[in-house]
């Protein structure tokens, strides 16, 4: 028997350790190299961890991600040259999804940005932008920011800061016991909290489609805080494997797989990241191409697929036309534990992108039938304002 592919392990050297490394190992986490760090791919098993998160609350260590602060002179205007989102209009304590774009309209990274209030956990002026970028791309992102932002913009890379995510319908109950008041946050808002004398920055957000929180805290406090969370009966530690299957079911793209420098925001079906004012004004990297695509449509489109049968169709499988010619590519795929079917994301020609379209996939010489469906595969359960 031999493994022909592994969807979660990525080999890069050298491998560094994160603040919770020993904590994961002590809890039976199976560590794999990911984004240059040793990370837990699973504890008791991906399927059980996935289902636990959908029903209760899962604790994810995402300390490999890049945490950046932007301050100084006219950093809003500088960021708006690289991101298509409304940075200037982002209110304090508000969080927004955005994209770091290339001059050609491709995607360097996808990210979350938040406007900090004066009361923040980072000992920095109110108005600063806090940004979380992908772990595998953070060094390249820093290069892009440094190259294109004016020298007067200050970038702080919070390398010693840990980042945890608590996700699932019971996350609010568990976290409110440890940090009273977090229940008052709504989806895509954030605020400062204190725990045992440590400053915490907490947002109601995540990458699973479930209600939940992301918590930035000093690395040296991470073990004790993770212990406090897993002491709650609702909470179990969850590995990267389930993080991937949860985000796939939630229809959320993964950078380096579903998004890259060859994909544009319109092709990636991330048009919501182009804010109205920015669409009207332009002036961001790749704007000409992206705004034209928004009017005329892109040649390819990211879609969700449900695959017939039980066999997973994974990243790299081809989308073929009636003659067998390759016309697209599967960029993520696997067996979906909550859907109990194989699902995938793929780039297909615009003519094949409508929900209900039947398409054919080829993996290792074998054909699979699939149907285009609207995403998410599992409904989002975010807690929004007024809900």
């Amino acid at each position: 028997m031999s493994e022909t592919l592994d969807a979660t392990a990525e080999t890069e050297t050298p491998i560094e350790t994160l603040p919770l490394d020993a904590w994961h190992r002590a809890r039976g986490g199976r560590m794999v190299p990911f984004a240059g760090y040793a990370m837990p791919v699973q504890y008791e098993g991906i399927m059980a961890e996935h289902l636990w998160t959908r029903e209760h609350a899962g604790l994810f260590d995402v300390s490999h991600m890049g945490q950046l602060l932007f301050s100084g002179v006219e950093f809003d205007a500088g960021l708006e040259k690289l991101l298509p989102g409304d940075v200037k209009g982002l209110g304090e304590g508000r969080m927004r999804y955005s994209l770091l774009l290339s001059e050609e309209g491709g995607i360097h990274d996808d990210l979350m940005m938040t406007r900090l209030p004066a009361d923040n956990a980072f000992e920095i002026d109110g108005g600063t932008i806090y940004m979380v970028v992908n772990g595998a791309t953070k060094w390249d992102d820093l290069g892009v920011f440094r190259e294109f932002l004016p020298d007067e913009v200050t970038i702080n890379h919070l390398e010693d800061q840990a980042l945890l995510a608590l996700q699932g319908p019971e996350a609010v109950t568990a976290l409110a016991r440890v940090l009273p008041g977090v229940e008052k946050l709504v989806f895509m808002t954030a605020a400062a909290f204190e725990w045992n004398g440590n400053p915490l920055w907490v947002s109601r957000s995540g990458y699973t489609g479930e209600d939940g929180y992301e918590i930035s805290l000093p690395g040296e406090a991470a073990e004790a805080f993770a212990d406090a969370l897993t002491a709650q009966p609702e909470v179990k530690p969850i590995g990267l494997g389930a993080r991937d299957s949860l985000r796939l079911e939630a229809g959320l793209p993964l950078y380096g797989h579903d998004l890259d420098l060859e994909t544009t925001p319109v092709a990636a079906d991330l048009g919501f990241a182009l804010s109205k004012r920015r669409r009207e004004e332009g002036g961001f990297a790749g704007a000409e191409r992206i705004l034209a695509e928004r009017e005329q449509g892109s040649a390819m489109k990211r879609v969700g697929l449900i695959v017939e049968g039980r066999q997973p169709v994974r990243e790299g499988a081809a989308v073929v036309d009636a003659s067998g010619a390759e016309v697209g590519k599967v960029t993520s795929g696997g067996f979906a534990p909550s859907v109990q079917k194989p699902i995938a994301m793929a780039y297909v020609p615009a003519a094949l992108a409508a929900a209900g379209t039947k398409i054919t996939l080829v993996q290792r010489g074998k054909q699979h039938s699939a149907e285009v469906v609207a995403m998410p595969f599992v409904p989002h359960r975010y807690v929004r304002k007024g809900a």
């Binding site: 592994d6 098993g45 399927m47 494997g241 997973p312 534990p337």
Partner: protein, 123 residues
């Protein structure tokens, strides 16, 4: 009856003219939750080392090789509907296929249980 093991974590148990093939406890524990198994059809001719079956977990797709040469006489049909049987009982109910052997001497190159356990303990 004797059971043999390969370095690729297949087991083969020979009972008279027919041998049963599956993957080991170690293999299933490494793969994790198994969601799909494809077994060979009856009559398929296999040479030692050929791709004989496919096993997919949530995490990865793997090939199962023929531990020896021969002809498939039966695939385990239960695995189509219940692939998790391989996790639950890999060296019993979770068997993959049965085959006749065309060259029994090929068994000599395989490990017995004690040797296989020693092999796994070093991984």
């Amino acid at each position: 009856m004797s059971r043999y093991f390969t370095e690729d974590h297949e087991w083969i148990e020979v009972d008279g003219d027919v041998a049963t093939v599956g993957i080991t406890e170690y293999a299933q524990s490494q793969l994790g939750d198994i969601v799909f198994v494809e077994v060979p059809d009856e009559g398929k001719e296999l040479s030692k080392g050929d791709d004989a079956a496919v096993v997919e977990s949530v995490k990865a797709a793997s090939d199962v090789y023929a531990p020896v040469s021969g002809t498939v006489v039966e695939g385990n049909e239960d695995l189509a509907d219940n692939p998790a049987l391989v996790n639950e009982d890999p060296e019993g109910e979770g068997w993959f296929f049965k085959m006749t052997l065309s060259d029994e001497s090929e068994l000599e190159g395989l490990m017995n249980e004690a040797k296989y356990q020693a092999f796994v303990s070093k991984l």
